[in-house]
Amino acid sequence: MQVGKSVFKRRGYWIVLAATLMTATSDARGHEDAVLRSSVSAIAAGDTLPLSGADFSSGTAYELRLLGALREYELRSIDVGPEGTFEIALPISSGVAPGVYKLVAVAPDGDRVASLDLTVLEPRLAATDGNDDSKGSDGSGQSDAREMARADEIPIERSRGGAEWGVIGLVVGLAAGLGIMLIRRS
């Protein structure tokens, strides 16, 4: 189809054309081709997660990782069978911090091909055998827990890049300058 010259003179068409091109060429990394499934959505650290997968590329080794807001754990790799499926019992180490995670399968090229929301809970307490470390000096476990409840704040290392400092300085400076100008002019 031939598009008349006059049409392109109209800015609206340029915007539509640009948007269409951007959509057509945009990176599709967010799309996941495979599926991870589990019968549980929350699990105690130290327990084993029943996990199955489908629609993976057959004969490929994938890495299973646990991604949280602050932490990331590499769990194990899986070899997918000829039908693109797998079924495993995935141990979640007792060292995994409780929290909300995404369990992801990562292809050898680094693409995330499947994900599953997973909540990791506190590890189950070990059975009492007379030498239970979770108990306090009174044998009840109460005093240790009491000591863990803290009223003070976490020491947080706050670091800002130069650009962030610049933007904050600009916003604060503009607000102060404009504020003084408005008061003086009124």
Binding site: R150, A151, V167, V172, I183
Partner: protein, 341 residues
């Protein structure tokens, strides 16, 4: 050739025409230029800061109890501008408590709640109540030890007040954790109700005008300019405070223990809890707000002068001094157990 100044004026004139800004050129008493008459407007501007920063924080916050604390740490350490914006939210929340208290006290002293401004006063009192609720629900969202104890207080208060406080109990529903419901309350229902009341408050002020003895007037647009200037300076100040004294975060909560004190605006309730136990958190705010609501009905004096509230003024003063004393007691007393966690 036109000067750039006249060009800018023309442009501004065109925008003003299309936005019907002439509607702002109505007369208001000249005393509106005085600092005490800015406090209400500054409160509104701080509410705007709270809404904007809150919208940003909500993009990163996870209201699931298993992920809430981590998400706050994420906001502080990894989200772009997260630490500053969260600290702005914190300082604006503190600022709004100061400004709304000062505004309420000044209006009480001026007796601007007298006919026909009773509803304006009640809308203001309701807004103060909502802001108090927004502050305590906001504290809980940190989900550190202090936040967890705040949630436990909601549950205890809900159980004490029966059907009235049912929303705050765990048995309200098993489908959603209390933290998630408090998050939804903090980010939807309470702000919506607050904005509706702000609208009502402003509309009534527009209709009844500012209470003044003098007949000297200025144009409202001029008042608005000065107010905007003051609001921007206040923003710059809290912007600096947010950098120099950023908002902190406690350790992840350990259930079953009360070892913290609440955010400073609620310290007077904490002091009352030291004296009355868990009922203090119900009785104190209920008594204060019941008095504030009743003020226009109790002050029957026909003499309209500021500061001549009669016995109502004395009761107000007693309330003020008591809250201050309880606040100091709450701030300086040793942490105590109130709800038998």
């Amino acid at each position: 050739m036109n000067s750039p100044d006249s060009g800018m004026k023309k442009g501004a004139g065109r925008i003003a025409e299309r936005l019907a800004l002439d509607a702002l050129d109505y007369a208001v008493p000249k005393l509106a230029e005085r600092a005490p008459y800015f406090i209400g407007g500054l409160t509104a501007s701080l509410i705007a800061v709270l809404i904007l920063t809150g919208l940003y924080l909500a993009q990163f916050y996870n209201p699931n109890p298993a992920g809430a604390h981590d998400s706050v740490l994420y906001i502080i350490t990894r989200a772009p501008f997260g630490d500053w914006i969260r600290s702005l939210h914190y300082w604006a929340a503190g600022g709004v408590v100061v400004s709304v208290t000062a505004h309420l006290a000044y209006v009480f002293w001026r007796r601007s709640y007298k006919r026909p401004r009773e509803v304006t006063w009640w809308a203001g009192v309701a807004m103060a109540g909502l802001l108090f609720l927004l502050i305590v629900t906001g504290t809980a969202l940190r989900f550190d030890q202090e936040g967890f104890e705040a949630l436990a207080h909601f549950v205890a208060g809900g159980e004490l007040t029966g059907a009235l406080g049912a929303f705050f109990t765990e048995s309200f529903t098993l489908s959603t954790p209390l933290l998630t419901r408090v998050f939804s309350l903090h980010t939807s229902l309470l702000p919506l109700a607050l904005l509706a009341l702000v609208g009502l408050h402003f509309w009534l002020i527009r209709q009844h005008g500012i209470r003044a003895d003098s007949s000297e007037t200025i144009v409202f647009r001029r008042h608005l300019k000065r107010l905007s200037g003051a609001a921007l300076i206040v923003f710059a100040v809290i912007g600096v405070l947010a950098v120099v004294f950023p908002a902190g975060l406690g350790y992840p909560a350990v259930a079953g223990y009360e070892v913290t004190k609440p955010f400073w605006p609620a310290l007077w309730v904490y002091g009352l809890e030291n004296l009355l136990g868990a009922w203090g958190m119900v009785v104190g705010p209920a008594a204060l707000f019941a008095f504030l609501i009743a003020v226009p009905l109790l002050d029957r004096r026909t003499d309209d002068g500021p500061g001549r509230n009669g016995w109502v003024g004395w009761v107000g003063l007693i309330f003020g001094v008591t809250v201050l004393a309880l606040w100091l007691y709450g701030a300086f007393s040793a942490p105590q157990q109130h709800i038998g966690m």
